[in-house]
Symmetry: C2
Subunit: 483 residues, 2 copies
């Protein structure tokens, strides 16, 4: 990073969040070098710093999936049109937004192929080939691939025509087992968001109008962004035996009867990178959770031309590296001030400053990104204190995001109350009762601007009546504006 002038300007030119949240977001993804645009509309380059965040997410999730018995596979990226058409609701949901391959070289294809928007159909075809007996079940498969959905309006990470994700696809002997898997994987995602991304989430079920195309039920985790909007951070679907029937998947069960298996699918995507930007970032740039930050600690020497400073900075770097911490030493000629701004912009969770005075006192200074809290660290306790501070950063980030979620969640019992809450306090999550009727769901959105996000697992009895029609309420819904 030696283009000093250019970068000084970059750092200073992030649009303040309060001025224009959307522009603030775009500035960060571009200036922290997470992505770059391409001539392919709606598609982007994920740059090294952005991709490294994704690799860290992948490593944590993949390890967890494998601990739970899942195996990785890889399906083709193409789906023949006839295969996509096999499950009616599914094709209706996805066909309008797929990219179609019609030519191979100079030859027109006999049947056009879509680039997978998701791979249920391919997994079903495969399961029909390999599942014959209860002894073949369950299959707990996952793949890490990219998928394509021909979106009209796109935004980096949040909604792009191609995005990276993992898609788990499992098949089970019984409905109970499949439902348990659906719930288990939602739990894995929720834990991941909270423990690795420091991002509290609400676990719940989607209303019928918001289900995945072809699912019996869709579970989701919803996170709140800085601006009070909701971001769906992961979904887990229970399919019942609908896909299996459509694709002719059967197995001989334990009582020697031909039976139809039950399926699930679940996924998270690079959208999570957008989520951590908007859940944690501030006007100085990114704020990255330590668990997925490409660089967890940056060592910045102060007055580095003075004798012994670089040597000591290198020593700290080596100590932290040996302890398995992702650390970077910036001994470039840029000023400490420039470096501070640069690594704040890039969201490095902890900065270590070491200068002549610190060396005299056998200490260094640790500065936390999210709150600029300073700690003087005795050098002989460096590793322990750094680990402790990284944990403190995680905890602090989580608490800050939780406070935002709590302070922007409003319990309401009337349409008017929803309106005035949002008007007076800004966007947020609204808790309100619902009768279960889709007409009311639509009407709430029409009248207040907030749609149903999910029916949270943690229910509260705010009222007996639907917030919209006044008829008996079936459940509490979280309403909000969504990314």
């Amino acid at each position: 990073m030696s283009k000093n002038d250019k970068n000084e300007k970059l750092v200073s030119s992030i649009t303040p969040m309060s001025e224009d949240f959307a522009q603030w977001y775009t500035d960060i993804v571009k200036k922290a070098e997470l992505i770059e645009y391409t001539s392919v509309k709606g598609c982007m380059v994920i740059r090294p710093y952005g991709y490294a965040i994704w690799e860290n997410m992948q490593r944590i999730l993949d390890t967890r999936f494998k601990e739970l018995g899942h195996e990785n596979v890889c399906m083709p990226m193409f789906i023949p049109e006839s295969l996509l058409n096999k499950e009616k609701e599914h094709v209706e949901g996805f066909a309008p937004e797929v990219a179609w391959v019609t030519y191979g070289g100079k030859e027109k294809l006999e049947e056009r192929l879509c680039v997978r928007p998701t791979s249920e159909t391919l997994f079903c075809e495969h399961y029909a080939n390999i599942v014959h007996s209860y002894r073949d079940l369950p299959k707990l498969y996952n793949q890490w691939v990219s998928v394509v959905r021909w979106e009209k309006t796109t935004r980096p990470f949040l909604r792009s025509r191609e995005f990276l994700w993992q898609e788990g696809h499992t098949i089970h002997e019984t409905a109970e087992e499949a439902i348990a898997e659906t719930e288990r994987m939602l739990g894995v995602y929720a834990d991941f968001c909270e423990q690795a991304l420091a991002m509290p989430v609400i676990r719940g079920k989607k209303t019928d109008s918001d289900k995945f195309a072809g699912a019996v039920s869709t579970y989701a985790i919803e996170a709140m962004m800085h601006d009070g909007k909701a971001l769906q951070a992961g979904t887990s679907h229970y399919f019942g035996d609908g896909f299996a029937k459509a694709f002719g998947i059967t197995f001989t069960d334990r009582s020697n009867t031909v039976s139809v298996p039950h399926q699930t699918s679940w996924g998270v995507s690079t959208r999570l990178i957008g989520a951590i930007i908007m859940a944690h970032g501030d006007d100085n740039g990114l704020v990255l959770p330590p668990a997925v930050a490409p660089v967890q600690v940056v060592v910045v020497p102060i007055a580095q031309h003075k004798e012994g400073v670089l040597e000591k900075a290198n020593e700290l770097y080596n100590t932290l590296k040996a302890a398995g911490i992702r650390v970077k030493l910036d001994d470039s000629e840029n000023s400490p001030g420039w470096k501070f701004a640069e690594y704040e912009m890039r969201g490095v969770p902890l900065r270590i400053e070491i200068g002549p005075k610190d060396i005299e006192q056998n200490q260094c200074v640790a500065v936390e990104r999210h709150n600029r809290n300073k700690t003087f660290v005795p050098l002989d306790k460096l590793t322990d204190v750094v680990k402790e501070r990284l944990q403190a950063v995680h905890d602090g980030m989580y608490q800050k995001a939780l406070d935002n979620l709590n302070s922007r969640t409003y319990s309401c019992t009337s349409i008017d109350e929803i309106k005035s809450m949002l008007e007076n306090n800004g966007d947020g999550f609204v808790k309100a009762m619902w009768c279960g009727d889709e007409a009311c769901e639509d009407k709430v959105k029409e009248l207040t601007g907030v749609g149903s996000r999910c029916i949270p697992f943690e229910q509260e009895q705010l009222d007996d009546k639907c917030v919209c029609c006044g008829k008996p309420a079936k459940c509490m819904v979280i309403w909000g504006k969504a990314y």
Copy 2:
């Protein structure tokens, strides 16, 4: 694996290599559950056992790439036609075999997009955006993705319409630096094949007729398969400044002059799985190199119903697992004989047998897959001996493959000699001198059936004259039939 009868049959039904090499290969990929066919012609499912081999390859290579300073990125999977057309030789090489996306949902695209067959054009567009000064160089980028080439004839792993690979793309201040990178990465591939895949390779340069479309020079590693045919296991290309000029990539150099950078690209693919099947496999199935085997050691209890056997088998399993060895315990109800055949078919490098008599003598038996060599292992030295035997398996596999390579490499000084050598000894590598003229290259192939594989770095002066035209020879070429 409890479908005993079915699998007994599977194991026994591998076609012998000597009877039909191609069918032997197909039997193995299918019966060892590496792949499954799909309704997408020329594309396949890579099943868990096959994908785990690829994951192990990825991990080793990715670690090495990163040690050398490379960073992972992710480009879009689509290339607009106008972008593909920018470099003349490149588009001529690839356009005939790409898949074209022409519709997004119901709308015809204004410009059609090809699914990347390789990503030089996308990297060039990106470099034009982000490279401005010598301080921005080099960029050492890599991506792990799948690419699509609309092949007419396909075979699992060896040639499929979609395949997984990594593609490195680097850009440098000088030609020297780019050439050094091209050579360095070929070295990384060669070391990987030899040290991780136990597969000796010949390092060399492709003749001009065999270069990558748009490259100044292409380096390759060539491995020999059991049947004496060559398999190109990896390539590394030096582009000079041709792509940079076509894409308008320039930078301000150290003397403040606008200059054109030099580029490389390099890749290996899931083809390497095909290579290890055909370099190491035998009539009993796969033989996997320990470094990439999903299961390195299988523990098979003998007379497992007898008291203490399963307990001891579990103990061995736990000991090996704790030592970081990829180990599996098969305590299913299948017979030991079935298990032996099953894990031989799956190529597990080392089998540990433990029965009542072994327990009495405080030992177990280790059987090596590639030569069935037996070792009695004192249980208190289990981990050390297992590690030592895995190394011995690697070494033995390497030596066996090297012996095959050496015994099937023929030095020839005339067309007639090439013909008779191949006739009498079967397919293999032919070393013969060449004048450098493409006409001779074509004629050798026409007359003998073997084409130029590469101009090996290790040259020998077999003769002064071209094996074909008799004019002064420029170099020795390795000729052979290729997959």
